[in-house]
Symmetry: C2
Subunit: 195 residues, 2 copies
């Protein structure tokens, strides 16, 4: 704003806010952003005073603060590693949709390389079985065959925003491995420019 160089702001979406060392991961991500001449914005950055609030009220305050943070950003890099099931964290999915409608460019990385369909099939609790020409889960819900990283709204939203999806086999550090994240930064530098 008034500077010759306006560094683009990247909202750092993902479930790593639930890690015991969330703030440390956030700092590492922000430092990596700095390396690529971006400003990283971590959900925990905005300090929220939850004193005297009920848990429900506190949750709503965080929700509002995150939405406001997204609105201040130009890009999103979302960690879409599967979370408590075959798909990404739904809070992150919400934020990707929100950012997409706001016109942000979105990059996403998953620390699991298998595609969505394979992940659902691989989970015995989901009871995937053949039903004529298609496969369904134990509730009869169709198993999509779109060769996508996750649900088509996620892959579609990211790609139509001008960004891209990256998968990386991270192994043990499922949520904290930042190699996929850094690849997104490289792609963001090339695609979105840093002007």
């Amino acid at each position: 704003m008034g500077n010759a160089t306006h560094k683009k702001r990247i909202y750092l979406a993902g479930p790593e806010v639930f890690l015991p060392n969330a703030l440390e991961i956030g700092e590492r991500k922000k430092q990596l952003c700095e390396t690529y001449s971006f400003i990283g914005v971590f959900p925990c950055d905005r300090k929220i005073n939850t004193q005297g609030l009920t848990p429900h009220e506190a949750g709503l305050s965080i929700s509002r603060a995150n939405e406001e943070l997204i609105k201040t950003c130009d890009l999103v890099i979302a960690n879409i590693t599967p979370f408590r099931g075959p798909s990404l964290d739904v809070g992150t999915a919400y934020e990707i949709g929100f950012a997409r409608a706001q016109g942000l460019t979105i990059f996403a990385y998953s620390n699991v390389t298998r595609l969505y369909t394979e992940r659902v099939v691989a989970d015995p609790a989901l009871g995937v079985h053949q039903d004529g020409d298609v496969r369904r889960d134990k509730y009869g819900m169709l198993l999509e065959q779109y060769q996508m990283v996750d649900n088509l709204m996620i892959d579609g939203g990211v790609l139509y925003s001008g960004g891209s999806l990256t998968t990386f086999h991270a192994g043990k550090e499922l949520y904290a491995d930042l190699r996929g994240f850094e690849k997104c930064l490289v792609l963001a530098s090339q695609t979105a420019g840093v002007s």
Copy 2:
């Protein structure tokens, strides 16, 4: 549009598009909308020609079509019943976020009454355990205690949009039971007006 009465359009988000009788459920939902003087818009409404497309291209076409449909609507009623894990379908989560940023009023119903925290605890595969003052899953990810139906971005987005969340114990017809859906229609009539 030139008429004295402009019926509001409701985007019908939810995983029931994966049911074997998806179109029938869609028709039932649209008829219920009509009963409450709304126009229901089902994701499958827009016919997409996927002939000659790869599965990936077809998926992207559906993604784009759904986004365009949401933009034509005034409200969303989202089925946020847990899907392949303790949380709602991520495609629906994306659509709620997208609609929220577009300024739509969002109502959500779940056919499971237990709150998110209870659902995560109840799933032995997630390995929730006590860790000092908090509970974490098998990956060390914090279990939130916000007394919410799902992730705080979902509950927050719905409530801040001017809508509300409804839970209903649907029993066997987990995704097809429409009593929670109809309750959302009643609430939408009262809150959003039909003018």
